[in-house]
Symmetry: C3
Subunit: 330 residues, 3 copies
């Protein structure tokens, strides 16, 4: 691992120290991937990389000691809330966990603006998960303290996209020149849309592989095309796999198909096994936002190219970086 870090250090894909002295995200909200330039990303990932090194060396440190994060989850997400909890704690900060909003003031009809204005009396930063598109923006409009969007319905989940991209940086270095293949449900997959948007800031190629009814939305495709990124659409993985540097797998849900037999006829094409990887490069990586339910078979876990659990860990470093940044401590 230390060696791997050293390698990446040589590549130095991040914004160098001298260029990021002015804490550009201090007091800012993190609402959408659209708010970031490539320079922003290199800044964030530079901080996240330092977080990684610090955690691996000392586990935790007191950068945010005395700071409080309110984890305001209007719908459950153990993975995301645990990740932010750990991020805050590894930086020495504390938590106000609010996981059962439906039982509480909100059930009494309180508006989101009132809830966040109350919470910011108690906390220094609010992480918000909400089922409605635009909830984070609404919250940010009323809150004086930073809001971090941890998913608002079918809208955005920017920290997920950032951790996906940071995984690529840490595993393969600067994304320029890479071929990224996205597989599965590209229509409803919020993470796929956000990652495609972020990748459009780079000199990459994107392949989409999906059942016909789950293709990438035209809007996203057009947005990425406008940035000059070459894209291909495919119904099977095999033709594009051997050139792929990053295989981003998402689940194809049976319920999306009107006729279950349509699902059965395509599903095997969207399950990754050791066999299906035999034609893939030696130095490529497989990502997955998790949880998975069978779309990557467990035998693949031992393949060094299976990066999805490391991806979870990179998520911790990205969230540590974001918390430190918005609180002015990066």
């Amino acid at each position: 691992m230390a060696e791997e870090i050293a390698q990446n250090e040589q590549k130095n894909p991040y914004l160098p120290f001298g260029d990021r002295q002015d804490a550009p995200f201090y007091g800012k909200d993190i609402l959408s991937v659209k708010q970031f330039t490539r320079q922003d990303l290199e800044y964030i990932f530079g901080v996240a990389h330092e977080m990684r090194e610090m955690v691996q060396r000392v586990g935790s440190f007191d950068l945010l000691k005395g700071k409080i994060l309110a984890n305001l989850f209007y719908e459950p997400s153990t993975r995301t809330s645990s990740s932010f909890t750990s991020a805050m704690e590894r930086l020495g900060g504390s938590l106000i966990p609010i996981n059962e909003v439906h039982y509480s003031s909100v059930a009494k009809g309180e508006s989101l603006p009132d809830t966040v204005r109350t919470l910011e009396c108690y906390a220094d930063v609010i992480v918000l998960r909400h089922p409605e598109v635009g909830a984070s923006e609404l919250a940010a409009r009323y809150a004086n303290k930073p809001i971090i969007n941890a998913g608002d319905g079918i809208g955005e989940h920017p920290t997920q996209a950032l951790l996906d991209l940071f995984t690529i940086y840490e595993e393969l270095g600067d994304p320029d020149g890479l071929v990224i293949t996205m597989l599965g449900d590209l229509k409803y997959g919020r993470t796929v849309h956000s990652l495609a948007r972020l990748l459009s800031l780079y000199d990459v190629q994107i392949n989409y592989v999906s059942p016909d009814i789950l293709k990438i939305p035209e809007g996203i495709f057009a947005e990425v095309e406008e940035k000059g990124v070459p894209q291909t659409e495919n119904s099977t993985l095999e033709p594009v796999l051997q050139d792929t540097d990053v295989l981003y797998v998402t689940r194809v849900q049976k319920e999306r198909f009107e006729d279950p037999s349509d699902y059965d006829s395509v599903k095997s094409a969207f399950i990754i096994t050791s066999d299906s990887l035999s034609i893939a490069k030696d130095k490529m990586i497989i990502l997955h936002p998790l949880p998975r339910v069978g779309e990557i078979s467990m035998e693949v876990d031992d393949d060094p190219r299976a990066a999805y659990f490391r991806q979870m860990e990179y998520g911790l470093y990205v969230r540590m970086a974001l918390l430190a940044m918005v609180l002015g401590k990066s």
Copy 2:
């Protein structure tokens, strides 16, 4: 804000340092507003004011480092539990959050005395929210460690009343000479009853404004009268508003009315808008225990007299003070 604090400092409404050296609340329970003398209140608010200054200067400090608060909530209350959580964390302490009592040992039939005697093996102080009147007293009878009542049914919610009064102190100074007007549901409003009791220790005037069916209970009225506090009862706000220094708003719930049309006929009289405030003093404040659901329109939030979000913040300082006091650290 600093200036405002300075002003209040000049007034010095709190018990001076020399007079509060003996930690009168160390190891004590906080069960009812009835347990406090005016001197007690000045002591508590003196500590709370110091907490405010410390938080505003340094955010958090390690006064209660190593101490553990068990937040035992038999019914949900995000606002109150978040406030205590923040109070403990800003003092460097830790939490055992217990929010789902109905799923747990209690569901197995365990008695409250057994639950608190178990919890006090793990924690240094217990904050208890319970749907039954008298639950806190029962708990305190069995526990060796301090119990803080965070609301027991339609009974008491002493820390809410304390924060309401502390808000008056911090915003307007010593309450003597002030006119306090309470508006809305005065019959069922637990916070109104407790605040009226506390105010009866001062040289104030209290106006009650409510629909006829939601008048202040005779018992409370008599109790306050006995202390020599002048009180008036009213069915509309206008006549008393212009003399009011503190307007305490609570919600009128439609469900309280047998005939919904009765509600519709009175409700507009109990909604505060910028218009309705045009005749109010320049230096008065509007309080609300929150959550609100329409009884103060959002346009009022920007009025400097709207103190209800600051009130939430004062609640933090009062709870910090109480925790420090019962743990012998004030």
Copy 3:
């Protein structure tokens, strides 16, 4: 209390310092009572005893500062999760509390191996409570970080058995020579089975007292017999009570009986009152895993022999010891 500790120190029932310098549990899982030798137990209890002295002297200390415990509870258990929470916090560590697994990723069908491999990206140790026998072993097979079994269905609950035995050590010293009587539901009582197994490492006598349909399982009886521990089976307590040093009480649930009148005819024999204790030794102790629902009457609580609340406290020290040990800090 200090005196009592001093007494126990004289007995010195624990493994002496010189013999336990090599951190034998560092990085290990705690899955079953079957994994412990008598020497292991003396090691663990020696550390737990030091934890007790430290807590009683200073309350908390920063042995695990910066470490994170994920409390992964697939079924609720306020008592056990609060105990681990307190243990981690009294050692200066932090928590990721996961109490509502059924609402979250797992509801989306994620496997236990995936969940623990994700969580170990965020935490340093995982405490797992799960309704299925063998869940902890499965988790431990996939996790790189230590798993502590906090109960897996009708399987094991090793930390409960350890705290039961530690209570005996702290209250009465080395168990050799003691008579332990187990009362109540011995068929389904997971804690009874585990404690009997642990006790079979000592030179004790065990009496079982239960209704006929709730007798100790033959398998457990045979296992203990093989170790040469004398055992007796009884249908009433009286004949064995006067020789008893440790009376371990568990609840007899009415639902276990096909015919409710059968329950009514036996229940009084399984309720401990001050009266029933009149023939017991002066220096004996009554244990109960709690919660209790009537099987020990509250009047007994004031009897110094009633050790069940102290038992809860010993549980804290045992869990502190285990956390410190598996994290290499004992």
